[in-house]
Symmetry: C2
């Protein structure tokens, strides 16, 4: 949808023209990385954005993994040093020949040429695993859904698209849990933005209410200033609260409840987009789900877009 | 055969310890690259030497090539920029995830991790194609057999090992010829050493006489000084002649005739090996062919080994 995508001039930017803006989207299996990535690529335009998944750096195929003491979540199950090398190459504007892991067959396949466009979105299990990988990104995101939601998503996807049974998916989730805690969760502390989509447990919203979004905005990058347009009253569908994260660092928490109305949602979208300093109208594709539409998702995507543009 | 291989200390070398010595062996299909490479790896020891083939950087598989206006000899049929990138990475001691082209099936397969050892031997159709690739090597070789000999080798190999008929191989040779002249031959001018194995047409040696070797030694690297042990009398089985190459540059031409005797051959091997300044005895595997043994091949391999050690 190139006509709906953002066309921005980067004249006046002090970023070297041949260095792309790099975004990481880390999170466990079925945390929503692909959905978020797809929305950003649509908004930026496919000719402006390159999206890759670093789970392609698996060292073993499905058959070989059967004899091994770890799951694909373990760094030893992945070519981490090659992933670091390829991210460095992309970050400096160079092409890579990226390995390809085929989720349908469980086989490692023919690699593909990736030439970085203006924006490079890197999603996967371990993009924020090492200091070297983290140094490659301008903006980093960690997707942090509640475990019960993520299980539901994973069962639904892996039974529908990857040919597993319910029982197989649940057994695999259990087998992976210690490695998820050991290797995936620690990336949360390194993200500029932590995104959690979840129902508000204290409310009884109608069943088709979209999930709410809670965004932790760490002061490791500059976010749009929303304190002037949003209150901190947590009874309000949209609010911004300063708080401490799990290790005591100050963060802003932006709450976008699923029941937010159109008027409030558009007010904050305009504030975010105005801050981006972009002439283009608001991207029309924001917030689209497989079924339906979500303002919390739209605002999350817009905030990421704005931060990508600001980094560019 | 690690016990037969060369064990050398590089103490006192001013080369950074983590940068391997890089050797290129360029030449057309069936020019003898693999045979030469195998002999060098055996002499150096498999734990000291990494050998790769840059024909793995084919951009298309056999089926895809059927619809294309060029053969695998054409740079556009290969990921040249990725080949350049990977050679630079190896030359600076870094690992690569190398693509794999399967000659048996004609398919591009799962890539493999290559971690450079002390010596890296890079053979293939186009390792000396660009300035960037050439800059990665310490020593460069071009294999230049007479066309009739190469045709014979290619027919024999491709019918025995790659499942083609005589007619198919000959038709393919004809189809490739313009691209061979345009893209393979020009690499000859960039090689430090040009190697030609051929019969001496002016002689009538018995049919099991090994091919003679003619080595052009360009002064682009330092070769062992053989002028003190060898005459320039071209009636002698071993001689060294100063001459001009095809574009008028002065070169040394070392001739090792197939009928050279053991005594002369060992004399020049000792001179080459003495110059290498290595404590180890002469590698025992030099000159071995699939069937039989060749002094011209042994001397060629030894000269390359000596130049690799000198570069180390």
């Amino acid at each position: 949808m190139p006509d709906k995508a953002i066309r921005i001039s980067r004249a006046g930017s002090d970023r070297s023209a041949d260095r792309p803006v790099m975004l990481a989207i880390a999170g466990d299996s079925a945390a929503g990385k692909t959905t978020l990535t797809r929305g950003l690529v649509e908004a930026l335009g496919a000719d402006q954005a390159t999206a890759i998944c670093v789970d392609d750096y698996h060292r073993y195929d499905r058959e070989e993994r059967k004899g091994l003491p770890f799951t694909p979540l373990h760094p030893d199950c992945n070519y981490i040093s090659i992933m670091e090398q390829h991210l460095q190459l992309l970050a400096t504007g160079q092409p890579i020949l990226k390995p390809v892991y085929d989720h349908a067959t469980g086989l490692l396949a023919r690699p593909e040429l990736i030439e970085p466009r203006r924006y490079v979105i890197v999603e996967g299990l371990l993009p924020l695993h090492s200091k070297l990988t983290r140094a490659c990104f301008d903006v980093t995101v960690y997707l942090d859904p509640p475990e019960d939601i993520r299980r539901e998503w994973k069962v639904r996807r892996d039974t529908a698209k990857r040919g597993y049974t319910n029982e197989q998916v649940l057994a695999e989730l259990e087998r992976r849990e210690p490695e998820s805690i050991a290797h995936i969760h620690p990336q949360r502390a390194h993200a500029d933005i932590v995104v959690r989509f979840a129902p508000i447990t204290t409310r009884r919203d109608p069943p088709d209410t979209p999930l709410s979004a809670e965004l932790l905005l760490r002061p490791t990058i500059r976010h749009p200033d929303l304190s002037s347009v949003l209150g901190h009253d947590d009874q309000h569908a949209l609010h911004l609260k300063m708080m401490r994260d799990e290790i005591g660092r100050p963060v802003d928490a932006l709450h976008v409840h699923g029941y937010v109305d159109r008027e409030d949602s558009e007010m904050v979208q305009k504030a975010i987009w105005g801050d981006a300093g972009v002439e283009a109208p608001l991207p029309a594709t924001l917030g689209m789900l497989d079924v339906g539409h979500s303002y919390p998702l739209a605002i999350t995507q817009l905030l990421l877009l704005r931060n990508l543009l600001a980094a560019g």
